[in-house]
């Protein structure tokens, strides 16, 4: 029984790692496609590193803003300026697979925040936009605060997942 639970947990962590990989590149894709994400990221302090992590041992995903570029860092160990840490993989998964809204993670105490809460709010606004590109309307209607507005279609967004970096010049903030 215990072994079955352990295996199931490992499976859930594998799913979370896969979602983090898509979300990590999806964030960069949204920054390349959408001026709202570029404006938010451009407002972050230089050398900002943001990490999403599942406690205690991961997986995790990070991004860095440096010299006008937003970069996907993958799952490498970094010292984040802002860390959103899920208390467990079970708490993270409903959000990661689009079953729960991002803010629901905080409402239900599923995640903690270490760092500037204003930066966290900006990051969450970006996640809402990113989810609009990654998830179909059937899902975004339930998890986003307002209907998704897209600057490009899902296929273009998924095609843009090949990139790891987005230039933030041209941001209007």
């Amino acid at each position: 029984m215990a072994q079955t639970g352990w295996k199931a947990k490992r499976g859930r962590k594998a799913v979370a790692a896969a979602v983090f990989a898509v979300l990590g590149r999806g964030f960069v894709a949204a920054a390349r496609l959408d001026e709202r994400v570029r404006a938010e990221a451009a407002s972050w302090p230089e050398d900002t590193v943001i990490t999403l992590r599942i406690a205690p041992f991961g997986p995790q995903v990070s991004w860095r803003k440096r010299e006008g570029v937003l970069e996907y860092l993958g799952g490498v160990q970094v010292t984040p300026s802002l860390a959103v840490i899920f208390k467990s993989v079970d708490g993270a998964l409903p959000l990661l697979v689009g079953m729960k809204p991002v803010l629901g993670a905080f409402a239900e105490h599923r995640a903690t925040v270490s760092g500037d809460l204003a930066l966290a709010m900006s990051f969450v606004r970006c996640l809402h936009i990113v989810e609009g590109y990654l998830f179909p309307d059937l899902m975004t209607r339930r998890i986003l605060p307002r209907p998704a507005e897209r600057r490009a279609g899902h296929l273009v967004a998924y095609g843009t997942l090949v990139f790891r970096r987005a230039r933030l010049e041209g941001a209007s903030s």
Binding site: E108, L117, M121, R146
Partner: protein
């Protein structure tokens, strides 16, 4: 309705009653502390309010390690770090905070620094501070509003960016909260009114926010009923210890409610108005509460409708059709504002508090970035916030 998931914690011991402060020696001894550092501000010392606590401490086995009275109306990270330095240098083993929200929140900030080291700015976040607190903490409020004596939250101003930073952690909950009406009987009418409206806003927002739960609802509704019944009584007879104690309990209950259910758009806008334009917190809450409720009405109508019973009484509630109760609750808040404006001069617009139209965009931007906004039942856009704030101007 029971939420899919919720958490509730209120571990603070409540000591409430006339002359309750005289038990402070016992409470310190029970906590194993004997050298408290008293935190307060110069005005409370001058008005001899803090003296009630210091005199009570003099008649105990405890030895006061010092009195720190340099806490401003809007505390800052620098003040917090300085308090932590004084605490270490004085050899204190407890903090007794005597004051309003600023003093109590400064104490909480200092506890973060004393427990986790470094500077307060290194510990920003929500629910991220783990481990047992290193400092014994007794909170003694001198206003009936913030509820900080039982909350896991602290608000400290970032004086460089002109924003108010929120900290939340269960380790911020005081060990003991002492409510003694002798500390609030001297509050002037306008401050009594604005702090009570702050408490009312805590209660109302806690019911409509996304972390609301059955336990926080109980505290919130009880608090609203106490405010409705006893705020006019305090204005009629400011020296009434019975009515003052009831208001202090209302503020405490509202604090316990919002500590476990959080606050939303009204506080986000109020923090922003405080940071950008220096608007006093309680007055900002009073002005912005009906505007925030009106914005949330389409998604929180039923929840506001429940509050009509506590805001306006059973006869009004029974006479109002169920579908109209949410809007009627907003009307009841506006009626209370009008009464307080007439009796105490409490402002009813942001303009009366010196907010200029050109400050509205900065306030809206800061409100969007305020952590309280994340718990509102509805997420406003920047443009919507501009409209709400203009409506309150």
């Amino acid at each position: 309705m029971i939420p899919d998931y919720y958490e509730f914690c209120n571990s603070t011991k409540i000591v409430s009653g006339t002359r309750a402060i005289e038990h402070i020696g016992y409470e310190l001894a029970a906590l194993g502390a004997s050298r408290p550092l008293v935190l307060t501000n110069a005005q409370l010392l001058e008005l001899k309010v803090a003296a009630i606590v210091i005199d009570a401490l003099a008649d105990t086995e405890a030895e006061v390690a010092g009195v720190y009275d340099e806490i401003p109306v809007d505390s800052s990270a620098a003040v917090v770090d300085d308090v932590a330095r004084v605490y270490r240098e004085s050899g204190a083993d407890a903090i007794v905070a005597v004051g309003g929200g600023s003093v109590l929140d400064t104490a909480k900030g200092a506890m973060i620094v004393l427990t986790h080291g470094g500077s307060l700015m290194e510990h920003r976040g929500a629910e991220s501070l783990l481990g047992r607190r290193a400092v014994t903490f007794i909170a003694i409020p001198t206003t009936a509003g913030t509820g900080s004596e039982v909350t896991s939250a602290a608000v400290i101003k970032d004086t460089e960016r002109h924003v108010k930073m929120g900290f939340t952690s269960l380790s911020l909950l005081p060990d003991v909260a002492i409510l003694d009406p002798r500390l609030t009987v001297g509050l002037p009418p306008r401050l009594t009114a604005s702090t009570a409206m702050d408490a009312l806003t805590h209660a109302v927002e806690s019911v409509s926010c996304v972390q609301a739960n059955p336990l926080s609802d109980c505290y919130a509704k009880a608090a609203i009923g106490l405010i409705r019944d006893h705020l006019p009584a305090v204005l009629d007879d400011p020296r009434s210890t019975k009515a003052r104690l009831a208001l202090a309990n209302a503020a405490l209950m509202a604090g316990a409610a919002f500590s476990n259910a959080m606050v939303g758009i009204v506080h986000a806008m109020g923090h922003a108005a405080g940071g950008v334009a220096g608007v006093p917190h309680g007055e900002a809450m009073s002005v912005l509460l009906p505007h925030g409720m009106a914005y949330n009405l389409d998604v929180a109508c039923d929840r506001y409708g429940e509050l009509l019973l506590d805001l306006a009484g059973v006869e009004t509630y029974a006479a109002t059709p169920a579908a109209d109760r949410g809007a009627a609750a907003i009307g009841a808040v506006r009626s209370m504002m009008a009464m307080l404006h007439e009796r105490t001069g409490l402002p009813v617009t942001l303009g009366e508090m010196g907010v200029e139209p050109e400050q509205i965009p900065d306030i809206a931007r800061a409100a969007l970035d305020d952590g309280a906004m994340s718990m509102n039942p509805k997420q406003p856009s920047y443009e919507e916030l501009i409209e709400i704030l203009k409506g309150a101007l």
